[in-house]
Symmetry: C2
Subunit: 333 residues, 2 copies
């Protein structure tokens, strides 16, 4: 067995109570006593036992960050800030990947297989609104992204509609008239439909027609972006003068296809993406893209979760949409 508090107490000639006080930085320990205890800890190589503490406090100090995919850039950019914020509030973060599997997402909603985490922040992709009712009562939970579930679940959203509208306005302001929307359809998420909505609103606002032939279905990957544009060109249909890709991957795929067919970007076709991945600044041409304030998302989500965990009511609004910036670069000028 490992060294326990009792061993330390004995070595330091005090009671476990005092050792506990020292370990937890409580007041009311005489400096001299504290020193002796610290010394004994050092000497014996004492390390507190997380399990025992959790059991006693009925809190593990762990929160879950549940994401669909490790490789998605949104994950990479969100995880850092989430971990940082969480640590600042005294939590550690257990990262869990669902692969967008509905069963796994439901699992989280219902509080997990075992009581390992004090709460969860989840980017759910496969849940349905009515799943909200299956939430385990009392398990602190914050949703990120667009998934709004039934029941009053805390939620931090990306400004999909607003940002898409801003993209259309930008393109129209530079004289583009035949806008293609790339990525509509198969993905089928809330996210996609909100971006579609902003796109349509933008067209309406500019008095432009919504041309079905220019709303192209595609999974959100480079390969599919490339393929979609390739097929469009091969079919002989006229090109749009601007493409709004629902994410940057699609945009890069499209860019590759355009280049292979000798289409000039932005002279003949303007191109805009969504997410503002690092690569956007370095591609040829550099890519105009929507940059959501992910740091703010992380901060809000953690703060909301923390309040639920410590049971503070907080007058905070349970639904927040963060800010965004449209980074205009070479591909749309």
């Amino acid at each position: 067995m490992a060294v326990s508090m009792h061993d330390v107490a004995r070595a330091a000639g005090v009671s476990v109570r005092t050792v506990s006080n020292v370990v937890n930085n409580f007041a009311y320990v005489r400096p001299e006593t504290r020193r002796r205890v610290l010394e004994a800890m050092e000497e014996l190589g004492y390390v507190p036992n997380a399990a025992a503490r959790s059991l006693r406090r009925s809190r593990t100090g762990l929160i879950a960050l549940v994401v669909p995919d490790f490789r998605a850039r949104i994950f990479a950019d969100l995880a850092g800030p989430v971990v940082r914020e969480a640590e600042a509030l005294g939590h550690r973060v257990l990262i869990e990947v669902t692969d967008s599997d509905r069963e796994r997402e439901l699992q989280v909603l219902m509080g997990g297989r075992n009581q390992l985490t004090d709460g969860a922040i989840m980017m759910a992709l496969s849940l349905r609104p009515e799943d909200g009712r299956r939430r385990r009562p009392g398990y602190p939970l914050v949703l990120m992204g667009d998934h709004v579930l039934e029941g009053d679940i805390h939620h931090v959203a990306i400004p999909n509609r607003e940002a898409s509208l801003a993209v259309v306005r930008h393109l129209v302001s530079t004289g583009r008239r035949r806008l293609m929307l790339l990525g509509h359809g198969p993905h089928g998420s809330e996210t996609a439909s909100m971006r579609l909505r902003g796109f349509l609103d933008g067209l309406a606002e500019a008095g432009l027609p919504a041309d079905e032939a220019l709303m192209v279905a595609a999974d959100w990957s480079r390969a599919r972006g490339r393929q979609a544009i390739e097929e469009h060109i091969d079919s002989g249909r006229p090109l749009p003068d601007a493409i709004f890709a629902m994410n940057d991957s699609l945009a890069f795929g499209a860019l590759r296809a355009l280049r292979e067919h000798g289409v000039l970007v932005p002279q003949e076709v303007a191109l805009v993406g969504f997410d503002d991945v690092e690569e956007a600044r370095y591609s040829t041409p550099s890519l105009t893209s929507v940059s959501p304030d992910l740091e703010a998302m992380a901060a809000h989500a953690v703060a909301m979760l923390h309040e639920q965990i410590i049971g503070k009511p907080s007058g905070r609004e349970p639904h927040i949409t963060v800010d965004f910036h449209l980074r205009v670069r070479e591909s749309s000028q």
Copy 2:
């Protein structure tokens, strides 16, 4: 308080022992009894308490994956497989970020602040060989990457030297003679020096001189890659006919600088990176790059750690170097 085994036992009219047997899928429970217990669990919404179990078993079921940075692609590509492999062996993964901070890395080496994890897989960047002696004895640990520490610490390595040698051979075989090495220096890691070594070995093998002026220092980022090439061009020094960038980011930065100065890749300068990030297949031109077998790394690391945790001796070699492939693409043909 949450529902405990006692509650379930009472509801099912059995003893806690039996409930435990059911929960842990032990034998010797009559089907009828099992059914009753399962029913009671369902009805009461029983969820096992991880803390109590850990305390009793003196194992948390958690292993730590310790990485320098969330956004590094190597992390993204390693984390998925590690989590998968770990779950297959019954562990869950707690991800920890060190920001390459030596203190934090040492912390891990010494077993962590509290006994939260049963062991750790670490990509250490800032540790020094002699730090190996500070390892907490008995804490299962596997290192990933190049950092070899003193003491007999299990270790899975990337084939830096071998792969760099292969890159040089490839470039030489396509007629290149003045090779630049980009990324040498500041990064200062084992990784960098092994890649340098392979580069030099390759030159020697081909009977080419090692030209100091063509070994350019740069942090491993796009920005620095771009800047380094820019400065080289501005200085009026003659260009090399091939550039081997120590990672893909550097290569993309270099590519951008070359393009801005009208240098044709690969006609005038061939370009090769290291890591084979997804982007390499989609850049213009697509990038030749070294692709280490990260899945294998993950699998080996988890297997090694698992054996340490369960205390199986295993005849396994404690130092493994995984395989790699050189993906030859447009940038070097």
